[in-house]
Symmetry: C2
């Protein structure tokens, strides 16, 4: 409505130019599918109209519809079933898909270390708090196993880095909140490369790994005794210290 009024007003003040939308046919098809999903008119498990039907309804070519479907499939939004009952269905997007996209995004957008840090700390504080009240015996046993392997001096640096990520993911998962877990995991995973780099450059590996292990043990102890606030504080100190070490080694 506001837009219409503006156009009307522009009549007396000369022509009003708008940038041309160069949206391709397949992009428009994607946009419409997304609109239906967000409006909850299309839900997981629903079958999309057939290619020919969709092309007619949207006024685009069948090739445009096909391209849109392939893109949505690659993004994990829909999946195609073959066979007599075949068709294209709305799917549950996998955690891996979103982790992958977030990871790429963090790399390509050149978020600074403080930016990543400021997003990571509140999420991991929340993960740790949730874990302190929700962790099962099994969750704790898995964390213990990872910590024991990290404490072994024979563990090589790349394996140590893998286990480090695993520990943070286990804490997040122990909170039993999938969205917090995925965001935490994606952001932690973006740091794997830079962390590995600084591990490789580390001259006093013994001191560095001992310091990281001590941080993890403090988090684990707080979660084990169910102390939510202490778990949150422990995870924040650990992350801040780890970033200082990382920063020190990147310079």
């Amino acid at each position: 409505m506001a837009h219409k009024a503006q156009d009307g007003a522009a009549d007396t003040s000369g022509p009003s130019w708008h940038p041309v939308t160069k949206k391709k046919a397949y992009e428009q098809v994607i946009a419409q599918v997304e609109e239906q999903i967000v409006a909850r008119r299309l839900r997981v498990g629903d079958r999309l109209p057939a290619e020919r039907e969709l092309a007619t309804m949207l006024g685009v070519s069948r090739a445009g519809v096909r391209e849109a479907m392939r893109t949505l499939e690659a993004q994990g939004v829909v999946s195609a079933d073959v066979g007599t009952d075949g068709g294209t269905f709305v799917t549950t997007m996998s955690s891996e898909a979103i982790t992958r996209i977030l990871r790429l995004h963090v790399h390509l957008s050149h978020f600074s270390v403080p930016e990543v840090l400021e997003a990571r700390i509140p999420l991991e504080r929340r993960s740790a708090r949730l874990a302190a009240s929700q962790a099962s015996e099994e969750d704790l046993a898995k964390m213990r196993e990872v910590l024991d392997e990290m404490a072994d001096p024979a563990t090589p640096r790349d394996r140590f880095n893998e286990l480090d990520t695993q520990f943070h993911v286990l804490v997040a998962a122990a909170g039993h909140n999938r969205l917090v877990t995925e965001l935490t995991t994606a952001i932690r995973e973006t740091m794997t490369g830079p962390i590995m780099h600084s591990f490789d450059d580390e001259e006093d590996w013994h001191a560095r790994s001992a310091s990281l292990c001590a941080g993890h043990e403090a988090i684990f102890a707080a979660i084990e005794k169910g102390d939510a606030l202490q778990a949150a504080e422990a995870v924040e100190s650990h992350i801040r210290l780890a970033y200082e070490q990382l920063h020190y080694h990147s310079n």
Copy 2:
């Protein structure tokens, strides 16, 4: 290594079967491009090898390379330039792309209200804290304008909902941390549909909107005076109350 040992052990206990990886050619091309990005061997602005060259190097068809590039383009990872200097370049992924993917993901994964709440609260607490120390006069002026329009009883419910989202996005943006801003925005935007639904059902709209406005005013006041802790507390109370009202109206 562990895997090899297992294979060896299986020799005496019969054949060992592994699921066949049905990764399509274009998926493998995508995976390789991503690998280079995460390893920082491909950076924003870099040109990818030509289609023919990439197809030869990776041992896939040119059609497979083309499909991969289209998918990566749709995801905002690369962009194609035409003309004599044309080619496919690595781009900075736009915020809209990630917000869009997160929004779809939250819808399609059926995250529960408590799951979204537990992810939203720590992010918005952090946003409010950052805003309290970083907000410029201009940031504050924009928030004030949105709040004034929300306070006007003539503002229709759908516009109120839009302004509500805008206020939370402005707070996040005033913290000047792009990653926190994007995650906050994406998660807030997933709630727009359910919130609108409950607004439409609201019988006492006057009381509901007044309560939401009071919450926003408290957040704004804390940010304006630079009180980080109070801003965080105000945002958490506001979100929890808003969800209680939302939940009440969804049942």
